[in-house]
Amino acid sequence: TELLKVLNHSISKSVLTTYTRDVSLVQTGEGVRSLSLAGHVGFDSLPDQLVNKSICQGFCFNILCIGETGIGKSTLMDTLFNTNFENFESSHFEPQVKLRAQTYDLQESNVRLRLTVVNTVGFGDQMNKQESYQPVVDYIDRQFESYLQEELKIKRSLHNYHDSRVHACLYFISPSGHSLKSLDLVTMKKLDSKVNIIPVIAKADTISKSELHKFKIKIMSELVSNGVQIYQFPLDDETVAKVNTTMNGHLPFAVVGSTEEVAVGNKMVKARQYPWGVVQVENENHCDFVKLREMLICVNMEDLREQTHTRHYELYRRCKLEELGFKDTDSECKPVSLQQTYEAKRQEFLVELQKREDEMRQMFVQRVKEKEAELKDAERELQGRFEQLKRLHAEEKAALEEKKRLLDEDQSSFGKRKAAAQLLQAQSLTANGKKDKDRKK
């Protein structure tokens, strides 16, 4: 859907009709024939102009190193590029394979290179390695995806774009001396259509010469029999065809990496010092490091970049666009424009969206109605209770009034009787008094 948003501004083949061809386009039917020049014109400086431009822009190269923890990926990178890339040792207890990408700016004479080294962290450490290849595939796809997004933008800046697509994948094979591990085969099979794979045998100083020879043959035959397509050094350019053919025969390169220097004779060379001898990294009799450097950097760096762009990226792009339903020709083999397909899809999508919106609105209305009914019920109940209470209250009040009246009556009758009694008493008193008076006389 993100891609759809980007494709929201794509173009139409049929809008071509606005350019009414009233110009008589006369193509002289000469085809393209060769012409010889009578003198020095000067366009032989074109390659120089091109190279100068590239020098100003700088170059980009991205290497992915896949291999088990501790197999020597970082050391080899340090040795290859003659720098200390400040890597730290990874732990063996990563729960999942992760990828760590680091970018460096290198310069040699007037060439500026932006090198990105991507390392797999925790590869081969898990108990269950079934999903080990997935983060790697995802990373590679992500880089293709972001390039594709940039390419499809309306306002794009491709020449300024920092190309992060993986140009070369160094697959580090454990120097067991026997054969490839199944993890190796599975991973390489998943990656061979996405990236240029260059297999290398790591820590090659643990294998003897004869074992190494057998090991290489075994590895190559296993790769072939499993249909894994590794990167072949290109043979189409005569200047490098010969050296590339030779090198193709030396794959996979048995490498040794070291950034430490040991004195050999009167020179300091990169080497690993053992009690039984010194393994010199740049000695072609000792290991294939020089061959790797030669092939990876000095001879084929540009071809690796080109293959990534014209083969792997195009494949990704094609698959991705086809996945989204875009085609160049429809079922009747008439050219279908990206726009038409996209428009159809967009309509579909909008209709779907509208439908969902309607559904949601309906649901909303329904919910509202339900709630309203609920509330009305509650209100009615409340009202009922209020009435009831009111009635009770009125009854109570009436009862109390009644009681009050009775009490009042009682009170008044009592008052009357009291008055009567008092009168009687007063009368009897005076009567008694009179009687007494009479007796006295």
Binding site: R21, V26, H40, P47, D105
Partner: protein
């Protein structure tokens, strides 16, 4: 990001062994690029625009030292002036010191030759846009070619007749419209009819008129990449339009055979910068700025066209605004507040 440079060799006084200058080989990529470019070859498409008789074909032949343009298709000069502007495109494969180039010269007979020349620039504009369109169509294909054939017009040489006064309305119209879609290199044709003073004042007038009309010819000021570029290009901008003379005939001058035009009052040497500015034009177009011209076409003019087309078709095909607002999710709690809003 760490900055790494080649480690310097230890130059100490003590007897410590000298370390090898460790060489990685990154700069070998330049050689690889050069090899790839030589193998692939180059493409260059140049268009010539101007009234008939201004020496366009001759100049092309002089520039590329071969018969890239055939002056008249009919040898028995039945000078037919086309009724409308025609676009004639001829391609040749040329090679020099191992560098192969497919050179396409696009001629525009009929331009400015009619009585009514209104809109005669339109067919040319359409042709240029058609090339962009073709390239764009190929680029957005699902299955696209490895190398998309580049037929886009890289450079358009506009021939100004040597009146010595100022630009004509036709010139201004053409350059105004086309400088926005293609790199225009204006030249004063048949400059051997102007004296040096006339030439300088003519050039000055032209430059002022270009500025006054907002016409940006190659090299455009806004595309200068850095100070160095700007310096070089400023010098060029002070010299345009180049006053050129073309010839494909050789004459003997001072014991050398050189290209020139022989007249009763002297021989004009085409490649002599004291006589005319052909050499400057050739250097600009071919020897120093060809790649830059192609780059500007590719990354600026083409991209501008692409942006315009994508936006255009977007407006054409969608009546709804591109961003469809997502419907608000109803909250059961806030029903009381929403009750009024729902109808």
């Amino acid at each position: 990001m760490s900055e790494a440079t080649k480690p310097q060799p230890q130059a100490k006084g003590e007897k410590t062994p000298i370390s090898d200058t460790s060489y990685v080989g990154i700069d070998a990529i330049l050689e690889q690029m050069r090899r790839k470019a030589m193998k692939q070859g180059f493409e260059f498409n140049v268009m010539v625009v101007g009234q008939s008789g201004l020496g366009k074909s001759t100049l092309m032949n002089t520039l590329f030292k071969s018969k890239v343009s055939r002056k008249s298709v009919q040898p028995n000069v039945e000078e037919r002036i086309p009724k409308t502007v025609e676009i004639k495109s001829v391609s040749h494969d040329v090679e020099e010191k191992g560098v192969r180039m497919k050179l396409t010269v696009i001629d525009t007979p009929g331009f400015g030759d009619q009585i009514n020349n209104e809109n005669c620039w339109q067919p040319i504009m359409k042709f240029i846009n058609d090339q962009y369109e073709t390239y764009l169509q190929e680029e957005i294909n699902i299955n696209r070619k490895k190398r998309i054939p580049d037929t886009r017009v890289h450079c358009c040489i506009y021939f100004i007749p040597p009146t010595g006064h100022c630009l004509r309305p036709l010139d201004v119209e053409f350059m105004r419209h086309l400088s926005k879609v293609v790199n225009i290199v204006p030249v004063i044709a048949k400059a051997d009819t102007l004296t040096l003073e006339e030439r300088d004042s003519f050039k000055k007038t032209i430059r002022e008129e270009l500025r006054a009309n907002g016409i940006d010819v190659y090299p455009q000021k806004e595309f200068d990449e850095d100070a160095e570029d700007r310096m070089i290009n400023d010098k060029i901008r002070e010299m345009i339009p180049f006053a050129v003379v073309g010839s494909d005939q050789e004459y003997q001058v001072n014991g050398k055979r050189i290209l020139g035009r022989k007249t009763k009052w002297g021989t004009i040497e085409v490649e002599n910068i004291a006589h005319c500015e052909f050499a400057y034009l050739r250097d600009l177009l071919i020897r120093t700025h060809m790649q830059n011209i192609k780059d500007i076409t590719c990354s600026i003019h083409y991209e501008t066209y692409r942006v315009r087309r994508l936006n255009e078709s977007n407006i054409l095909f969608t009546s709804n605004p591109p961003d469809h607002p997502a419907p608000a999710t109803p909250q059961p709690n806030g029903v009381a507040a929403h009750r009024s809003s729902v109808e």
